[in-house]
């Protein structure tokens, strides 16, 4: 089974507007997800420029972009991506 890749943008915009709090995502993952998620930090994903900073922080779950990301929203998205696996 393939791991779900979570990319947390830690560019300056996302970092100030919330990604600093997402850095500890791994510690908040429910037991059943712990083994099947890979969390990485990334430079600016480039979306803050077009979208204005209003929607930061941005996170990608596999290739899907989440705006205004929170720990809860990320976990929900991971489950959605893993459905059927």
């Amino acid at each position: 089974m393939q791991k779900t890749k979570v990319t947390i943008c830690v560019g300056t915009t996302c970092y100030l507007l919330g990604a600093a709090d997402l850095q500890e995502l791994e510690t908040f993952l429910p037991e059943d997800l712990k083994e099947c998620v890979e969390v990485i930090g990334s430079h600016c994903l480039g979306v803050c420029k077009d979208n204005q900073y209003g929607n930061a922080p941005f996170v990608k779950v596999d290739d899907e972009l989440i705006a205004n990301a929170t720990v809860g929203a990320i976990i929900e998205k991971i489950y959605e991506h893993r459905k059927g696996e």
Binding site: G11, L16, A20, Q23, E24, G41, Y53
Partner: protein, 486 residues
């Protein structure tokens, strides 16, 4: 330090906006519209109405300009006209915090509240035990007569259902020295600056973000725009604030238009050296106790609340003072900006002729965002000024003591007295009592390190990094080699 919430988010977005507009020469024209743009008609308001929201935004912006909200005499005076004044000023208000009265009225007046859990029981211990007869049962439920209630809390202790709760007033709860209190006439909290120790704990605690610090960001931006020589002095806690190495942070700072960037850690080295010497001298002269002096909020606490301890406080200047003094000696024309996690440093800097401005980490981060500076796109800047790893460790609790201890060992002196180091990690109400005990001379230890913020500067009120990660980052640098002398 501040966890994610709407009030913090709003403050950050406002900061980003004014920085951006100012650097694009548009602030004067735009600033009066910001509250209206952010709270357009017809959209849900977060307070009672859109107009109040806008008023709050206006005052927040005033504080960001560094203007005292309390000083407003003419309500129709526009932000743009405040901005004009600000661009002409060359001194700052002594009172570095303001309570925003329109935002603060929302916390309960009484601390005790009967909840639905009350069963109007037969025993009625609350009614019987209330010393003022303020409790009675009406329609099967206990009711407090607030005109009689003296906030003693006996009812909460005797109710078998825990039906009476104590509702805290967050800012009062957080203040270690009882400096913030409700003014019974205006029903708004007021800070008594005769007592306040500038720890910033009330500011972090208030759920309405009603306590504002007066920023100097416009003054810094103005100097940058005028192409003045201006050096950012990064406090040792900086490495825990951004997810990249120090050299990259330094590079990003230069990309903002600062002409120089230095570590306050080298000033910390000077503090450790002198403090070690001072300790040896004092002990050999028969002193029983010496405490650190690098935390301005702690020093303020002693001055205002534990005067008996004042003579034990080290007279060695703080790392910020040594850093800015050195830089001014090297180049008197370059402006110096302390960048740190601290509210109290704003106050300390007002009395330090060599430190021109203070910025917080949050403000620095907002500058990165507003000016589009990304860490991966900047040239990392190699720092060359020698610093010891111990100087870099100042930002965590125990860091100062280990630096001073190491200095003493390294000095190779034989007349070194036995050292018994004690720590106070975070000044809260209890710690103030403990300090009072130290003042009586009855506590063990001859060297006392005190940090007003829990965890040390990494836990400061104006940080953006998570404390736990920040501690790890600082420790990594403190365990590293530093920058050796050539």
């Amino acid at each position: 330090m501040q966890d994610k919430n709407d009030a913090n988010r709003m403050r950050k977005e406002l900061l980003i906006r004014i920085i951006k507009d100012f650097m694009e020469d548009k602030l004067a024209e735009k600033i009066d519209k910001i509250p209206i743009e952010l709270r357009p008609k017809g959209e849900p308001s977060s307070r009672c109405c859109t107009y109040k929201d806008r008023a709050v935004l206006k005052y927040r912006l005033m504080a960001m300009l560094g203007v005292s909200v309390e000083d407003e005499e003419d309500e129709s005076k526009q932000l743009s006209s405040y901005l004009e004044d600000v661009l002409k000023r060359n001194s700052f208000d002594e009172n570095i915090l303001s309570v925003l009265d329109v935002a603060c009225t929302s916390c309960v007046t009484s601390r005790y509240l009967v909840t639905n859990a009350c069963r109007g029981c037969f025993a009625r211990p609350c009614v019987f035990n209330c010393p003022k007869g303020a409790m009675s049962v009406i329609d099967g439920k206990s009711v407090i007569d607030y005109s009689k209630c003296i906030d003693c809390g006996i009812c909460t202790q005797v109710c078998p259902y825990h039906a009476v709760i104590r509702v805290p007033i967050p800012c009062e709860e957080a203040c270690p020295v009882g400096a913030i209190k409700r003014n019974p006439e205006t029903d708004v909290q007021e800070i008594d600056f005769g007592k306040c120790v500038y720890c910033g704990k009330c500011m972090v605690a208030c759920p309405f973000s009603a306590i504002l610090e007066k920023s100097q960001i416009i003054d810094v931006l103005k100097a940058i725009k005028e192409k003045k020589k201006i050096t950012a002095m990064l406090a040792p806690s900086v490495v825990g604030q951004f997810p990249v190495p120090l050299e990259q942070i330094a590079g990003a700072v230069l990309a903002l238009g600062f002409t120089g960037v230095e570590e306050v850690a080298f000033g910390a080295d000077m503090t450790s050296e002198h403090e070690a010497e001072e300790f040896v001298e004092r002990m050999n002269a028969g002193d029983k106790l010496m405490t650190t002096s690098c935390c301005p909020s702690y020093v303020e606490t002693v001055k205002k609340h534990v005067p008996g301890l004042l003579k034990a406080v080290s007279e060695t200047p703080s790392p910020m003072r040594y850093t800015s003094q050195t830089l001014k000696e090297e180049d008197p024309d370059a402006l110096t900006v302390f960048v740190g996690p601290c509210v109290a440093k704003r106050k300390e800097a007002l009395n330090d002729p060599n430190t021109d401005f203070v910025l917080t980490f949050e403000e620095l981060a907002a500058m990165f965002v507003a000016l589009g500076v990304q860490f991966n796109a900047v040239q990392p800047h190699e720092l060359t000024r020698p610093v010891k790893s111990t100087g870099r460790g100042y930002a965590t609790s125990c860091g100062v003591s280990s630096a001073v201890l190491k200095e003493m060992k390294d000095a190779g002196r034989t007349d070194i007295p036995d050292i018994n180091a004690q720590f106070i990690n975070g000044v809260d109400k209890k710690a103030v009592k403990l300090l009072q005990m130290y003042a009586t001379g009855k506590m063990p230890g001859n060297f006392l390190e005190v940090m007003a913020c829990e965890g040390g500067c990494v836990g400061g009120p104006c940080t953006i990094g998570k404390v736990k990660l920040a501690i790890d980052a600082v420790k990594k640098y403190a365990d590293g080699p530093g920058i050796p002398k050539k």
